[in-house]
Subunit: 438 residues, 2 copies
Amino acid sequence: MRLGLRLKSALMKKASIVSIGNELLSGQTISTNASYLSERLLSIGISVISSYTIGDEIDLIVRALNLASSDADIVLATGGLGPTDDDLTRQAFAKFLGCELQLQEELLDKIQQRFANRNLQMSAKNKIQAYIPAGAKALENNLGTAPGIRAEYTCPEQGRRKGKLLFALPGVPLEMKQMFEESVMPELQRFAGDQVVIIRKLKCFGTGESNIAEMLGDLMQRGRNPLINCTVEHGVITLTINATAEDKDTAQQIAEKDEKLLRDILGEFVYGTGEQSLAEVVGEKLTQQNKTIATAESCTGGTLAKLLTDIPGASGYFTYGWITYSNDAKISELGIPRELIDKYGAVSEQVAEAMARGAREKSGTDFAVGVTGIAGPTGASEQKPVGLVYISVDTSNGCETKRFIFPSKACPRAKRRDRNSVRLRAAQTALNMVRLRL
Amino acid sequence: MRLGLRLKSALMKKASIVSIGNELLSGQTISTNASYLSERLLSIGISVISSYTIGDEIDLIVRALNLASSDADIVLATGGLGPTDDDLTRQAFAKFLGCELQLQEELLDKIQQRFANRNLQMSAKNKIQAYIPAGAKALENNLGTAPGIRAEYTCPEQGRRKGKLLFALPGVPLEMKQMFEESVMPELQRFAGDQVVIIRKLKCFGTGESNIAEMLGDLMQRGRNPLINCTVEHGVITLTINATAEDKDTAQQIAEKDEKLLRDILGEFVYGTGEQSLAEVVGEKLTQQNKTIATAESCTGGTLAKLLTDIPGASGYFTYGWITYSNDAKISELGIPRELIDKYGAVSEQVAEAMARGAREKSGTDFAVGVTGIAGPTGASEQKPVGLVYISVDTSNGCETKRFIFPSKACPRAKRRDRNSVRLRAAQTALNMVRLRL
């Protein structure tokens, strides 16, 4: 069977990605566009065989388009569609296709309208964004001024029927994704052919990557179908099940079988699927059970409330939040006795519990969470190291408080991110505690 | 002068990066090796002009090495040095250089020793790691079994003196960095010669990219030295000044001259330098002026407080924060009259102002910010569209309230992020208003 799949894969459509922008070569920006596109293309059975990153120079862009299109059936370029002089993608597309740029009155109207809607004056520079290569099609951008480009190219040496598809998408990830999903993905789905890859993701929280790998054992072997990959970010472990088959139903079946297997092994470590966040799952459960929640944060400084309110419709269950960063705020806003803080310190089990209880009492919610800890880099002592966090969840069934030490290590080149990894881990762990109580 | 500098920059040594590995093309792994190398090379005046990512296929690797070496003086390949069948970099190097792989007894001893030290049996597979192309040099790997490769290549068509340098480094970031710093960087420093690039960044907020481009005009022209690049993320515009010269002092001088020029043109749009965030600059100013701040948030749901407390030492100026997501919370926690909300709505100039005033009164801080708006996707009306946000900053000198409409549009796969772009823009704009009052 494995051989069969390998032979099939020669028939798979191929894509190449061209990422454009000097900032991508200076080491200042890590582009996530290429990996996003690779993953989405693979999900419809298109494999990315090469990826080029080049600066804002028209001849280099044209050369990359030549290289990319010589191997691949589909070329996706990102970046260089802005209004400034270093945005050269549309010019490079025209040169590569051997045609002129043409002003599209309709596009110009749309761009002008976009500015007018926001009571802004359109700058003369933006007019260039209404030009696209003759014969190409503009792709709508609902999030920015730069339209994308769709062009078809017939490689002269490969005969007329070898039509290849070229797309230019914005470099801003949000705009790129929106345009890709709305204007590119549907066409590519039809274009892709008969090898199908179904991707399922299981999101886990509450244990480490190596423990998960040990629990799964041989299931994670390379070459296996479905292939199971494991990535980790801020404590969230994502297991990706890549199931390949000749048709969608079969791929779906073998993916589902593995998903069930993994769920049986991992139990309550699995909190969700796809791109679900812990906050999303907590929000869904609160909504279903018609419950409300309040937050009282110290070291996380609003991170927990932000995660909860990231979710559309959060106002249905989230009502009150306090960031009691100073001791005075803890006392005046949550009614915590000053003596409690004096006796145990602001970072203590007692204060975490009093924060949760105080928040629930004042807000009248079903759940309340209290978080207090030491995010660092300062504020630590021998007894209370950086990363020490107490999290308390209060409900009408009682209050549960846990102590954690989240990993933290001074990172010379990005001191700030380290502090935030403690904060984010603390907020996520608080959400996970709420999830397990729901 | 510009011509002179342009000629010089043609003398700058150029590098190209080749990242090898199927996993880099499946979208599961985001390689940070290329950006690490780019930044390090630029710091010694070597500019990366292209970056190729390709799978584990020998012919594709050879082609990428050909392409990379045709433009660049230095080629850095990463990945594909492991012991398994899909590790093909050393074979590809041999093929590209037109020579055989040779067993190096000394390397074999080292690899065997490495296993012996850890009481492990060396697998037969590992023997391949003791082979390197004839005439090339092995680079020591202190962290793993795979040695690197250093080779010199004389392009036949460019004559004997055009020696180009090729390096193969491991794909594991930790091993790659260690080998690069120890065995590659010192040689490249000597090789780089006498071109230095100084990079300065100016961070701007409060206007759009195209307006900035218009204000700067010819300064952003390609080929100019310093070269000025412009990127934008969540309303923060970063202008990067890349100044090239024969020595550090001169590069520094021309970078400084441009920085001053840009600052004169852009005035108070410039809020900081380097990697500074708005919250960092606000925090610095609050600390210097010995002032404190409190926040009262509705639609931003903790985002503003989170940004402020991202900064180490925020407890010195940030004391109280409220997330009054429900009307009841606004009334009970900030003392806003119910009639005010009934009359003008929770999203109104009047309520934003009352939130800021209420927060400052309760916390006794010097500054307080109130934010109320419609983050979407629901909750909008014809008069109050998604993206409408009122921000109020209250101080002892009075209260200033502004109305904004931040761009927002439903994004099929990432609805949440879009909502969050409104929230983040609102929080950043609030910080900017505070900055301008400080």
